[in-house]
């Protein structure tokens, strides 16, 4: 299948320059905030200043006097339409606009609509809400205490406990723990952080009262799912809803949920019969939309004295904020967290997670982590380092000793996963070689003797992406297939539409490359569209690195259906039987007579002009692909840091990233994804935190304090690759967008801890700021 294609055809493996660049570099992108419709008005949300409070009254009479004011919608107005609450993506409900009480600072309380954006802002300031403060709960560890305030009055069970979930063999794991000579334990918090794409969330909701059609331009990573949910929740006939995700300025999981602002804009548009634009500010984005992580984890590893691991036990407390608005497949309250045995061959394992409510923004969504995989990878990679430190073993050696060997794939993990393929030692060895690992360890020893602090951190992660097979996976009930529809024109050019939605991943360039590989049509002759639910086939969207594994497979399958029909047409044109034909990308030729050939372009033309008797005209196909399994990209990252003893500053000197995502469509795009994800991982490991003080005030709720690295803080990334194709995927590809965010936090943390390990430091929670390092140095008497 994978016959190499020429550069002109541009199939798999070619670093084709991006088609989408043209409009972006000229400032002609079409993002939601660029949408201007005649008669368009603007909405602004009024938000709670309190973390937990009863609403005594809402007065809008001053707000409505602002010149240009059109309406103020409150929770009471929505309640009358049965819309004050809406279902979350995860078996819960959340308030659209608060009724009764507010449960987190920045929660939506009212929605002001005005002719202009400035008037809407003035209105919002004049809405008077009277609150009666209630005791605040921000520590998840206290959520289940007897005296804790019960946050959710709407739930039958008056408790802050959301769910308990467990998997694995508790008893057998316990037995191993007790029976093994060595146990290592780590308590690791993956702090609350936020995807913070550079474009915030927003929409233009345009209800046309004449046609009854509702068009919503939406910052959505999953336009079809959103359309269906708007139909079901809003009671609007689905054929009358069109969701358009135009250009999206980054998603990273932040644009998967449905937010109250969207619902309010739709309601306002229905009420006023005019387009309503709602774009949140950055502060609103950080303080109220889908946060990520906030996992408080404990891992214990039982091992032999030589480092062979025997069992893994994991217990996690998950802080979901005020509503469980997690974006997870519906049977997985903790997402795919049970991948926490990672790249290692644990005979026994047990994992349990408990979710609780707190007075914080709701979530947690999957921030470039394929459903809690980052949390899992971080935990196991930290735990392995803690074990290595305890055994005084080199962390690379400990990993190599315990890797699932390549001949054990497909591999059944003790927590229920069937890993499709992997060659962990190959990735590790390449990373060690690229890093010059032995020289680095020598250098570290020399520096230590002089009192200088240098650290080397390794992370050998296994990811699980491409959700997912219909027998196990759905989001809000909708199965997680994806789709591709391809239509070939008479002149041999093509258009393809997918159920996914790029937010920067380059789909307009990469998916045509798959078609180019399968059909030999030059990728430049293929137009790729996504995001308009009126025209694109149904799909579950782009997140969790699923586009290539699922929609990429659908693309290949649809292209192959076309090739099957093309073969029949070629046989007809060449007057031979199908069995006499051979294929090379772009043409069928008669076996042994290469000059007797028909190009795909000839065949396309014939599909409209010269068909075999009885054949349906045209040359197109659609495929809805239900993946048989997830895919398991993996890699090894090595981070080298130097610490400034005087200030505690951490300088990332080098970062080597070896990724294996199976067969690669476009190496340039894959490398770009790696760079971006590693930069996010750096920020998470060393800089970022959203926290709440004991009064429920959010800290780190704007870009002054939620720190995004600039080009100055970001090092150069050294990338490498190995290639272990997925055996079940039509093009052997696995997906890669999230690997760098999944695998890198542990590499950074392991490096800093390694720099201090000779002083007895075994763990530091993220973000590892300069002051945390400084405090440790003070405690250890180093300055």
């Amino acid at each position: 299948m994978n016959q190499p294609t020429s550069f002109e055809i541009g199939g798999m493996g070619h670093s084709v320059k991006r088609k989408e660049d043209g409009r972006f570099i000229q400032g002609k992108g079409n993002y939601v905030d660029d949408v201007h419709l005649p008669g368009m008005v603007f909405g602004q949300v009024v938000r709670s200043p309190y973390g937990h409070a009863r609403i005594k009254s809402i007065r809008i009479d001053e707000a409505i006097k602002v010149p240009g004011a059109l309406a103020v919608i409150t929770g009471a107005d929505l309640a009358a339409a049965g819309l004050a609450w809406m279902p979350t993506l995860f078996h819960d409900q959340q308030m659209v606009l608060a009724t009764g009480k507010v449960l987190f600072q920045a929660q939506e309380v009212a929605f002001c609509v005005a002719e202009g954006q400035y008037a809407a802002a003035d209105m919002a300031e004049l809405v008077e809400v009277e609150y009666e403060e209630l005791p605040v709960l921000v520590d998840p560890h206290k959520a289940l205490d007897p005296g804790a305030p019960i946050l959710r009055e709407d739930r039958a069970e008056k408790s802050n406990h959301i769910f308990h979930w467990e998997v694995g063999d508790r008893a057998a794991t316990q037995k191993e723990m007790q029976g093994s000579p060595v146990t290592a334990k780590v308590d690791a918090v993956f702090q609350r952080c936020h995807p913070a794409p550079l474009e915030t969330c927003g929409c233009v909701a345009d209800f046309n009262p004449v046609t009854s059609k509702l068009t919503i331009w939406l910052t959505s990573q999953a336009p079809h799912a959103h359309r269906t949910l708007f139909a079901i929740v809003g009671g609007i006939p689905e054929q009358n809803i069109r969701v358009i995700s135009p250009d999206i300025g980054g998603g990273f999981g932040n644009k998967v949920p449905i937010y109250p602002g969207y619902v309010c804009a739709v309601v306002a548009s229905l009420k006023l019969g005019r387009p309503v634009k709602w774009m949140e500010t950055r502060s609103e984005n950080l303080q109220s939309t889908g946060f990520a992580r906030d996992y408080h984890m404990t891992a214990e590893i039982a091992a032999e004295r030589d480092g062979t691991v025997k069992a893994l036990r994991v217990k996690t407390l998950a802080d979901h904020g005020a509503f469980n608005a997690a974006a997870q497949p519906s049977k997985f309250p903790a997402g795919l967290f049970s991948i926490c045995t990672g790249s290692y061959d644990f005979p026994k394992a047990f994992c349990e997670v408990d979710g609780v409510y707190t007075n914080k923004a709701p979530g947690g969504i999957a921030y470039r982590c394929s459903f809690r995989v980052t949390e899992a990878a971080y935990l196991i990679e930290r735990a392995m380092d803690v074990l290595a430190q305890q055994l005084k073993m080199d962390p690379a050696e400990l990993r190599l000793k315990n890797f699932i060997p390549p001949d054990k794939f497909p591999y059944q993990s003790p927590l229920g996963w069937t890993y499709d393929s992997g060659d962990y030692p190959a990735a590790m060895n390449l990373a060690l070689k690229m890093a010059g690992y032995e020289d680095l360890r020598k250098e570290q020893a020399e520096k230590r003797a002089k009192g200088e602090l240098m650290g080397i951190g390794i992370s050998s992660f296994t990811e699980v992406v491409g959700a997912g097979p219909g027998h196990t996976f759905d989001i809000a009930g909708i199965k997680m297939f994806d789709s591709c529809e391809i239509r070939i024109h008479p002149t041999g050019k093509a258009i393809a539409r997918l159920g996914t939605k790029s937010q920067g991943q380059g789909h307009e360039t990469t998916f045509p490359q798959i078609i180019a590989q399968e059909l030999g049509i030059p990728q430049s002759d293929i137009v790729l569209e996504e995001g308009d639910t009126d025209t694109a086939p149904y799909g579950l969207g782009t997140y969790a690195s699923r586009s290539t594994p699922v929609a990429g497979a659908a693309t290949a399958m649809a292209a192959r259906k076309i090739r099957d029909k093309a073969r029949k047409i070629a046989a007809h044109l060449l007057e031979v039987s199908e069995e006499d034909l051979e294929w090379e990308p772009g043409k069928f030729f008669v076996k042994g007579v290469p000059s007797k050939a028909k190009t795909i372009q000839d065949i396309a033309f014939a599909a409209y002009t010269n068909l075999p008797a009885g054949m349906e005209p045209g040359l197109e196909a659609v495929n809805y692909y239900d993946p048989p399994n997830l895919t398991f990209p993996f890699g090894t990252y090595i981070c080298v840091v130097d610490l400034d003893k005087g200030t505690g500053e951490i300088k990332v000197r080098r970062f080597i990233a070896v990724d294996d995502c199976g067969n690669i469509i476009n190496p340039m795009i894959v490398e770009g994804q790696i760079h971006g994800g590693l930069t996010e991982g750096l920020a998470i490991a060393l800089m970022q935190l959203i926290s709440y003080d004991e009064s429920g005030n959010v800290q780190g709720g704007n870009f002054m304090d939620y720190l995004v690295p600039t080009a100055v803080e970001t090092p150069n990334w050294e990338t490498g690759k190995t290639c272990t194709p997925s055996p079940h995927h039509p093009i052997g590809a696995k997906g890669v967008g999230e690997s760098p965010n999944v695998g890198s936090p542990a590499a950074f943390v392991n490096a800093v801890v390694d720099a201090l390990s000779h002083l007895g430091v075994t763990h530091i929670d993220m973000p590892i700021t300069s002051w945390k390092v400084w405090q440790i140095l003070q405690e250890k008497g180093i300055s």
């Binding site: 003035d122 800089m687 800290q699 780190g700 720190l707 100055v712 803080e713 700021t769 300069s770 002051w771």
Partner: protein
Amino acid sequence: MIPPVFEYVRPNTIPEAVSLLQLHGEDAKILSGGQSLIPMMKLRLARPGWLIDINHIANLAYIREADGYLKIGALTREADVEGSDLIRSKYPIIHDTARVIADPQVRSLATIGGNLAHGDPANDHGATMLALDAEVVATGANGERTIPIRDFFVSIFATALEPDEILTEIRISVPPARSAGAYFKLERKVGDFATAAVAAQVTLDSGGSCTKAGIGLTNVGPTPIKAGTAEAFLRGKTLDAETIAEAARLAMDESQPSADLRGPAEYKKGLVKELTKRALTRAVERASR
């Protein structure tokens, strides 16, 4: 995100600007670079009824040496301070400071006068001007007056400027030979305010002994702080490692940082010590060339 309504006026001369300040009193704010004021207005934390845009007043932006002083017009943009050859070669401490203020775009607009007049202890030039024993020139209804920088910072966001006064010039006595300084700032990332920063300026005699020292501290108190005790300690001494270390300790004791998201107070104090050491060491290095 959206500022509240205000009236806007653009005087062409200083006397016009001063009368506008007199007319509107507390309800008016001067708009120079606007890079501190406009963000506060967008968050609706500052709500002046009148904005007096002084950017069109001529002859307020210059960098020159005259009459034994380095004179910098208050409206000089930080980008121009950073780019000035005179400043980089003769006053590297000021170059060090300007280049770490915010980011390149902010520096295109932010002015050195605004940086001082805003009275934010987190702004960088305050410490440097304290270390240089600068003076500022203010013009108001009662004419022009000179204010020594050590009397300029009164408390947080409050300076010695009268409500009707505009800062028009910053003056630094041209230091004698064998003088130099340095500014060291630790920030969580480019564009942040200082977690702590230290400005140190020294003058050495021919024997290498310190005849004058100035040390200013950024963002570790309600105003920029002049570390007078540390300065006094250094006078008359050879600035070897031990002496510098002791001065650093003294400067640390003069700081009054508060804990915040940038770190605990104890950390900031530790930074003052470390950065004072580094700033003094660099200053000595530069002064000895």
